[in-house]
């Protein structure tokens, strides 16, 4: 044993080229991470696909049932409500937050006075814990005399609103703190993007007599294209995966009233960890994966175009 190691060491010294030695170091550095990614990322992904083809309540053995979970999913009216809610979060949340954050960044970029302080105000909500803020906003939405918003409405002589107790207002009410918390990040990224627009281009355009809108449309926005694509994708993924706010703001974490604010991730959570229908929940995660993959693919295409 001992002589063997010594022998192999001397072989090491004599027969391995520099390139081979470097390769050995590389694989040594990569060994643990590769095992990690296989065990904690790739294997579970494949496992999820497999579980989605079974009927399984964790306690008993898995029973292979083919595509039955998917058939059940797509014929379940609740699932379609959930899916449409999920996209409603996206379709409302993404444009509103991007337009707001761009407007703020574009204007804030021009000021030096109080810049750091104002920027900090917009950014601070990004550092908060979603769970904590969900409860703060939940309190704001209570009816008078408890909730802040309804107290203000009454002070202004207006009628109270239902907010979280209404099937129509619950979803936007849950969405508001999500937009609020994410705004600061988008503003920072937009401001960094605005800095990278060459000042000489802007000067030249002004000398040519271009108005503010024209400069914005012809020079600033085209330059910001990669930033915009990046933020669209990041926020799209974020809104499609909304969970913390809904779970903490709706009664018993149900995404109510009557599923009106329930998004896909909450549905997955409830199916898996309240109903213990692992196969059914896994099928939903596959649907989520498919949606996110399509969006990433579109992003790739859009990035290439520029």
């Amino acid at each position: 044993m001992n002589t063997n190691t010594i022998a192999s060491q001397s072989i090491n010294k004599k027969y391995f080229s520099v390139a081979q030695k470097k390769a050995m170091w590389a694989w040594l550095f990569l060994a643990i991470p590769i095992i990690f990614f296989i065990v904690v990322r790739f294997y579970p992904t494949i496992d999820s696909f497999y579980i989605s083809l079974t009927k399984w309540n964790i306690v008993q053995d898995k029973e292979f049932i083919g595509l039955e979970n998917y058939i059940r999913l797509f014929s379940d009216p609740v699932f379609w409500v959930v899916l449409s809610n999920t996209f409603e979060y996206l379709i409302l949340g993404m444009p509103i937050s991007l337009v707001l954050s761009f407007t703020i960044a574009y204007n804030l970029d021009k000021f030096k006075f109080g810049h750091t302080f104002i920027r900090a105000c917009y950014f601070i909500p990004y550092l908060t814990t979603a769970v904590a803020m969900a409860w703060v906003w939940r309190w704001f939405y209570q009816s008078a005399p408890i909730g802040l918003f309804n107290n203000i409405l009454i002070e202004l002589g207006l009628e109270q609103m239902m907010f979280l107790r209404s099937t129509e207002q619950a979803l936007p009410s849950v969405l508001a703190p999500a937009i609020w918390a994410g705004l600061g990040f988008q503003i920072l990224i937009f401001m960094a993007g605005l800095r990278s627009v060459p000042a000489s281009y802007l000067e030249a355009a002004k000398i040519d007599g271009a108005g503010r809108w024209q400069v914005l449309k012809e020079i600033t926005l085209p330059h910001l294209w990669p930033t915009i694509v990046f933020l669209v994708v990041i926020s799209t993924i974020g809104f499609l995966r909304i969970f913390d706010q809904v779970y903490n703001m709706t009664l018993d974490g149900q995404g109510g009233p009557i599923n009106s604010s329930r998004p896909l991730v909450l549905h997955i959570y409830q199916s898996a960890f309240a109903d213990f229908e692992m196969g059914f929940a896994a099928a939903q995660t596959v649907v989520l994966f498919a949606i996110l993959s399509i969006i990433t693919f579109i992003q790739f295409k859009l990035m290439r175009r520029k």
Partner: protein
């Protein structure tokens, strides 16, 4: 001569002042929820439900009740341990892998890189069910390890670090090799000190992500002693559903420490978020 330009600018300046004021009001509106949270946490009794800005008699009663009747201190400790250990692990492994994929040439390098990059496409939600089964099978339920293990290495960080190691000149690495340092020493002593800003950016991102994480820690911990702050706060708030002043105290405890850290390190945090946002 100096008067003329100012006079000419008088009208646009009014417009500027208006924009600035609107921005200011908007900024204050952004932090209003946090201010209301904090102020209400200092109120008791009837006063909780008034719009009064500052309580007549600010009190720490809610905080005292909170710490006496819940495990908040333990949850705080748990969150801290989880976030710190995960961050250290991510910094170590992600920079090591990023460096290897940047500065080494070997067969299979591209495959490894693409494979790691592709893990960014997999949403966490797809993995929680298999992770939960792993945790159950290995007996990791209600352990720190159970909460931490999925995040010990991140594909995003590998990608980020690889990009930043591009800025380390190869000459330095060759010189260190001639000086007799082995590859591990070269990485640790020569390359790592040159990517400090990137490391701090990754650290901020990882710490914040773990500090606020909710879904997975909630799934994996049943024992209230093992809750992290967000999980504990959710269960505490559910229990004291209508005692809003207590919930506000809990939310303050969960939020204010990060805000203090932010005020102290604002420059680095802003730079870190921008850096990881743009390169990532």
């Amino acid at each position: 001569m100096s008067n003329l330009p100012t006079n000419m600018k008088a009208v646009p300046d009014m417009k500027k002042l208006l924009t600035w004021t609107v921005l200011c009001i908007g900024g204050l509106a952004m932090i209003m929820p946090l201010i209301f949270m904090f102020i209400t946490s200092l109120k008791v009794g009837e006063e909780v439900y008034t719009l009064s800005f500052w309580p007549d008699e600010p009190t720490l009663e809610n905080y005292i009740y909170l710490f006496e009747n819940s495990n908040f201190l333990i949850w705080f400790f748990n969150s801290f341990v989880v976030a710190i250990v995960t961050t250290i692990s991510v910094l170590f492994f992600d920079s090591l892998v990023g460096y290897t994929l940047c500065k080494f040439e070997f067969k299979g390098k591209k495959l490894v890189f693409v494979a790691i990059l592709s893990t960014l496409l997999i949403p966490t939600e797809m993995l929680v069910i298999p992770w939960y089964l792993m945790v159950k099978d290995f007996g990791w339920l209600d352990t720190y390890w159970g909460i931490m293990f999925p995040g010990m290495i991140s594909g995003f960080g590998v990608f980020l670090m690889k990009q930043f190691f591009e800025t380390v000149p190869d000459d330095y690495i060759h010189a260190a090799r001639i000086d007799g340092l082995n590859e591990f020493q070269i990485w640790w002593k020569v390359a790592m000190p040159m990517v400090g800003p990137a490391l701090s950016a990754l650290a901020i991102f990882t710490f914040l992500g773990n500090w606020t994480a909710f879904l997975w820690p909630m799934i994996v911990s049943n024992d209230p002693e093992l809750y992290t702050v967000p999980v504990g706060l959710a269960s505490f708030s559910g229990e004291f559903n209508t005692d809003w002043e207590l919930i506000m105290a809990g939310a303050s405890v969960a939020t204010i420490p990060t805000l203090i850290v932010f005020i102290l390190l604002q420059k680095y945090i802003v730079r870190g978020v921008v850096m990881s946002g743009l390169k990532g």
